[in-house]
């Protein structure tokens, strides 16, 4: 039975399910307990599981994430919530130097069943320090995996998979997705965490995207269809590893690649996607791969400039038209 739920509710149910299923699962983070999470993701769980399972932490990102690493070494399955990815910059030592390295440096002795959840997008006028998209900083770290759920269904699947995985998983969420709604079919079998998903079929070009940009890309595809251009829209769902197979299969059909990302262009995720697909599908391509990306600037506080700085549906439509013209 498909239920319409908010993205935060899907995450909430996933946590509830895993906390109930395995008492080594713990949740750590600021205001995850009594308050129920800044975006309601842990609502109701503190009352149900108590303070050892849901721990309200001090503002000590470096150390509570590091504590998550230690707890994972000792057999717990911590889910660390960092309020936003901007604060994760303080936890990079724990994530990059510890979580990603210990299993390897120990010669494979230790599992690292750590999940780090955080939103990492542009919300609404939160200004430059609170509006960063930093996925590219984690994408290049061997030893990490990054899931980017764009829908409640994926949030539900991927958070549960992340908790059950013995590898350290970054679950990159989005401030503006928490209160978006979608179908949740809890019984449906999950695809592997890193599988991309074709959300819309089309023969004229392939739009590859993830997270909140999926919604914009689908809306753009609707508009393009009215103009006679059929876009295939792929949600990557995972940024490390990338499901090249799914992307390449689509390009074999459409021969045109458009990457849509909320981050800016230079040395960001889209650059890797374009390079990776150019290597794999160069002779399939009928046009230069294109990117719709944010402007190369910190996000201004002013509302109009903020909107102008990141991709809009019209930008995607224009880029696609330019490629198919």
């Amino acid at each position: 039975m498909a239920d319409e739920v908010y993205y935060w509710q899907a995450l909430n149910r996933a946590l509830d399910m895993e906390l109930a299923a395995d008492d080594s699962v713990i949740v750590l983070g600021e205001d995850v307990g009594l308050y129920g999470g800044s975006y309601r993701v842990t609502e109701g769980l503190y009352a149900k599981y108590g303070e050892w399972r849901l721990r309200d932490t001090p503002i000590s990102e470096g150390s509570f994430t590091g504590l998550g690493v230690g707890a994972a070494l000792a057999g717990l399955r911590p889910v660390v919530e960092i309020m936003t990815i901007n604060f994760a910059l303080l936890a990079f030592d724990a994530i990059v130097n510890m979580a990603a390295k210990i299993p390897f440096m120990s010669g494979g002795q230790f599992p690292m069943p750590l999940a780090v959840r955080m939103p990492g997008g542009v919300a609404k006028q939160l200004a430059a320090q609170h509006s960063q998209r930093l996925e590219q900083m984690l994408m290049n770290v061997p030893g990490l995996r990054i899931a980017v759920p764009a829908t409640p269904q994926d949030a539900w699947w991927q958070l549960r998979q992340a908790i059950r995985s013995d590898e350290p998983i970054i679950l990159l969420e989005h401030e503006l997705l928490y209160f978006s709604k979608g179908k949740l079919e809890p019984q449906r079998e999950a695809p592997p965490m890193h599988r991309a998903r074709v959300h819309r079929k089309g023969a004229d070009l392939t739009i590859i995207t993830w997270s909140r940009m999926l919604d914009l890309s689908l809306r753009a595809a609707g508009k393009l269809a009215e103009k006679g251009i059929e876009a295939e829209v792929i949600d990557l769902r995972s940024l490390r590893p990338v499901d090249w197979q799914c992307c390449a299969a689509s390009l074999q059909k459409t021969h045109r690649l458009l990457v849509v990302e909320e981050d800016s262009r230079f040395a960001r995720a889209g650059a890797e996607i374009c390079a990776g697909l150019a290597e794999r599908c160069f002779y399939e391509l009928d046009a230069v791969p294109q990117r719709v990306a944010a402007q190369e600037i910190p996000i201004p506080f002013n509302a109009a400039l903020e909107a102008e700085a990141i991709p809009r549906v019209a930008d995607i439509v224009a880029a696609a038209e330019g490629m198919c013209g």
Binding site: Y35, L90, A127, Q129, P300
Partner: protein, 351 residues
């Protein structure tokens, strides 16, 4: 206490309260968006500290910094315009509520990543100390910020190199929804300073006079080269953490008790205005700050009730004008944003 200073501080506090309450209204009407952290309840800290500072001192603050900016002398219209994201705001609409900067007034910024104010203040202090200037750096932070590593790292360096930094903790007992006893093993923030041999004091942050006196004393020590000092100001915020927070984790009675017995604006009025409140009102209020200060107010006779009313009216007009100024200010354009980003490139042309 000089009468003029007391009156100035009272006006600061009235303006602060009126400005912030108006900002809340403007937020509700959609003229301000994003995170908006307001200061009602905590006015005595910013006012008491900053009225003890010199114009050559540097200020480093957090995202809850509108009042610090106002007391420092940034015109209310210019602050409000920044909250509106407009071109005439102190950062041209690029920073917003959490990032007020004013280089000329040595207002070195509002920082929104908790714990950033410590190293920034230490760095400014380093520059001052190296040049041997009689200036101080005032570093504001919340009770929640002391568990960030930067607090300990920066206090150590400040003490080690005797940097002229006054660390001011605005202890409002909450780190968003987490009460201080649930986030800190040692809830007396001032006690942490002794680990670095930094002289520290806990003071009543609802009493602007107490804050002012303690700051004067601390700054004197700093200016003669004795190194950093720390003040823990005990205070309370009357609103949620930000406009997005209903604040439902706090017991209703706790909030009521602070609002009725500890309101710093009421206390300042009591300290300044003759015969206000009346003897009967004091009796009815029972124990608390107002009663404690009643002796002083009877003696002081600094301001009449009529003068107080006139002051409130004047302040309301200032806020009204600030909103008008902000509303009339143009929106910045992308070229302004680019200019801000490239401001340090000067004449260099990149290929």
């Amino acid at each position: 206490m000089e009468p003029d200073l007391m009156k100035t501080m009272l006006r600061d506090m009235l303006l602060a309260r009126a400005f912030e309450e108006r900002a809340a209204q403007e937020y509700a009407q959609g003229n301000i968006a994003g995170f908006l952290h307001l200061y009602p309840g905590e006015e005595a800290v910013a006012v008491g500290v900053l009225r003890a500072a010199e114009p050559a001192d540097y200020i480093v603050s957090t995202y809850r910094e509108h009042v610090h900016a106002l007391v420092r002398g940034i015109p209310p219209g210019v602050v409000m315009a920044e909250l509106f994201g407009r071109k005439d705001g102190c950062c041209g609409g690029m920073g917003g509520s959490m990032h007020l900067f004013d280089r000329e007034r040595r207002f070195m910024g509002g920082y929104a990543i908790v714990g950033e104010t410590f190293p920034v203040a230490a760095g400014i202090g380093y520059a001052v100390a190296m040049r041997g200037l009689p200036e101080a750096v005032i570093c504001f932070f919340g009770d929640g910020a002391v568990n960030q590593g930067t607090f300990h790292e920066s206090l150590n360096m400040a003490a080690l190199w005797k940097l002229p930094v006054l660390f001011v903790c605005e202890n409002n007992h909450y780190q968003i929804g987490t009460e201080i006893h649930r986030h800190s093993a040692v809830a007396e923030v001032h006690k942490r300073a002794c680990a670095y041999r930094i002289p520290a004091k806990r003071i009543d942050g609802m009493d602007v006079l107490a804050v002012h006196d303690a700051t004067i004393e601390a700054l004197e020590q700093i200016r003669v080269g004795n190194g950093p000092q720390l003040l823990e100001c005990e205070t309370y915020r009357f609103r949620g953490h930000s406009m997005a927070d209903p604040g439902s984790y706090r017991p209703r009675v706790e909030l009521q008790a602070f609002e009725s017995n500890e309101d710093p604006v009421k206390i300042a009025i009591a300290e300044t205005v003759a015969g206000y409140p009346s003897e009967e009102q004091i009796a009815a209020a029972g124990s608390g700050n107002i009663e404690r200060l009643s002796g002083e107010l009877q003696r002081s006779e600094l301001l009449t009730v009529a003068q107080l009313e006139a002051m409130k009216k004047e302040v309301a007009e200032v806020v009204e004008e600030a909103v008008r100024f902000a509303g009339n200010s143009p929106e910045p354009v992308m070229a302004d944003a680019r200019a801000a980003l490239d401001c340090n490139r000067h004449d260099e042309v990149l290929i």
